[in-house]
Symmetry: C2
Subunit: 320 residues, 2 copies
DNA sequence: CTGTTAGCGCTTTCAT
DNA sequence: ATGAAAGCGCTAACAG
């Protein structure tokens, strides 16, 4: 009287055709012996591992942990484990290179959040179920992103209301997808409202922020009075540059960060930020991937969870 | 002429008893068809998955990514994949609760870097191969840690040389193992040298750092003139508190961080830090775990890679 | 209701 | 030097 019956009981077979006494007995013995079904054997049979691989750039940027957290939690809820694969920030491999995880059936699908650049992707992951997180891949239907234009609008609404007419956007390299979307949105919205916007692309590091801020300050024409900064790391550089050049925040320059982090509240001038729904992005991506794995409808996803403007002290009235 | 032969060829069977022509042919076909052995089936047979689980607290603290990076890279070099398991910082589960990953044979072993507190651990993981990373577990032989006393000494040497006699240590809760080791070392070394040391335990957050710094400043007796701070997050709070109380850094107070991060160079007063060998810690932990999985000698490990004092501007001569 | 059987894709004796 | 066969631990289809 065995193994298959046990299997049925432990998996709660829908056709619950097991005598209650046996049922209880099996459960009891299993619990008592601390029995664990071997996930490998099960996966081998069912052709489904119950695991995803999440490819992320290992950056010193707290936003990724929020994203990870959202994804890990949702995956756990839905019975999947997630293995994080590092993408070294320097020499980034094409997303393609993680396909092997699915081919070896170590993973059922791929969550891809590399620092992928536009046009950089060979269309190679297509065979394996995958979803691009916070980036758009080569094909429609596999992308889940946040409302970057909405974030930009939130920044512009806030500073325009305080009288700013000349703004700047300090952000990462132009070919990074998120950056591209923010920049495009900024240009469009500013054009509509008759604001001028300076866009400064630079490395997503403290050093990069410092350099871009210098560049902005040295440009004589139409000095911006408000600027938004793409990442927390850049923000430190930007603030340092302003400090060094004695540009007072917010009196001469208003500053908004697109990365929210608690440390912002403790800086010399607490910095206002736009808090994006990163955890929701992570969980939405997992849901989307599960849908794909189960053969569901492919479609691009815009995470609609609300963003919020976290008002601190780095934004003020436009000078003069 | 089949499957077993193919297996032999692809695994480079030591008893290389395959005719060269067949050998080449198999290799060619395999490459051409993009054949990937199914890791599951192999694992099932060999009773070894080629995967580790790394249990990490998902904190907004960049030190973890360095540790992760070290571990992931080393694991990849040695043919293992690593899945990161989140340990929610609030309600931390006992390390025991990840044993199931090994029992289900999803992982060959566990790297445990939870915010484990002293005495909190049921001795439950013992069955599964595991290694405590940057923390000491209940049993000897499974711990790999860094030289925290060395870091403390580096701080004390540096400030003592500049004439400081009263120092403080602002760090996490007393029952966190790393904190415990730093505090013990600080007390011992200070006693030896006739320095006084104030120890302030607090939450490992900006808020915690702020609170502890206030507490330190409000204590009338023997004001410290130099303090070390356990984590980057706390550091922001500490600096904010000093700023608010008009305590000049480094003129009235020297500050050293035990977390190194590039952003420290861009703060209003660039902060000196002790840079710990975190990547080496990660890779050493992986090596140790592989040793255990392969049934090798168990022993505690102290990562000996050099620490360095990153001198910036937050440390000065003792006042008066 | 429950036991028997086959097979997931691979490695590993054991024969040839 | 290679093929045949068994089996890792599980699930699913089929008998009884």
């Amino acid at each position: 009287m065995h193994t298959s019956t046990v299997s049925r009981v432990l998996n709660g077979d829908p056709a619950q055709s097991v005598r209650p006494e046996i049922y209880q007995q099996i459960l009891a013995v299993a619990r008592q012996q601390g029995y664990r079904p071997n996930a490998l054997a099960r996966a081998l049979k069912q052709r489904r591992v119950g695991a995803f691989a999440f490819v992320i750039p290992l950056l010193r940027n707290p936003i990724w942990v929020r994203l990870q957290r959202g994804a890990l939690q949702r995956a756990a809820e839905r019975g999947f484990v997630v293995m994080i694969m590092e993408e070294p920030d320097d020499d980034a491999k094409p997303p393609d290179s993680y396909r092997y995880l699915v081919e070896e059936s170590r993973a059922d699908g791929l969550l891809i959040a590399t620092s992928l650049r536009i046009g950089e992707h060979a269309d190679g992951v297509s065979i394996a179920p995958h979803v691009y997180v916070n980036r758009r891949g080569p094909r429609r239907g596999n992308n889940v992103v946040m409302d970057e234009p909405g974030a930009v609008r939130m920044f512009l609404d806030h500073v325009a209301e305080l009288g700013h007419r000349n703004v700047a956007l300090i952000d990462g390299p132009a070919d990074v997808d998120t950056v591209h979307r923010r920049v495009t949105a900024a240009r469009r919205i500013c054009a509509q409202r008759g604001l001028t916007v300076a866009v400064l692309h630079t490395a997503a590091t403290e050093e990069g922020g410092w350099e871009a801020a210098q560049r902005m300050l040295n440009n004589r024409a139409r000095q911006p009075t408000a600027c938004a900064v793409g990442s927390l790391n850049q923000l430190f550089g930007v603030l340092a540059a302003f400090r060094q050049s004695s540009v007072a925040v917010p009196d001469s320059m208003s500053v908004v960060s697109f990365d929210e982090d608690e440390c912002l509240a403790f800086l010399e001038v607490p910095v206002t930020s736009v808090a994006m729904p990163l955890a929701e992005l992570g969980s939405a991506a997992v849901d989307a991937l599960i849908t794909r794995v189960e053969g569901g409808q492919e479609r691009d996803l815009l995470v609609r969870a609300p963003m919020t403007l976290v008002r601190r002290n780095s934004v003020g009235l436009a000078p003069r």
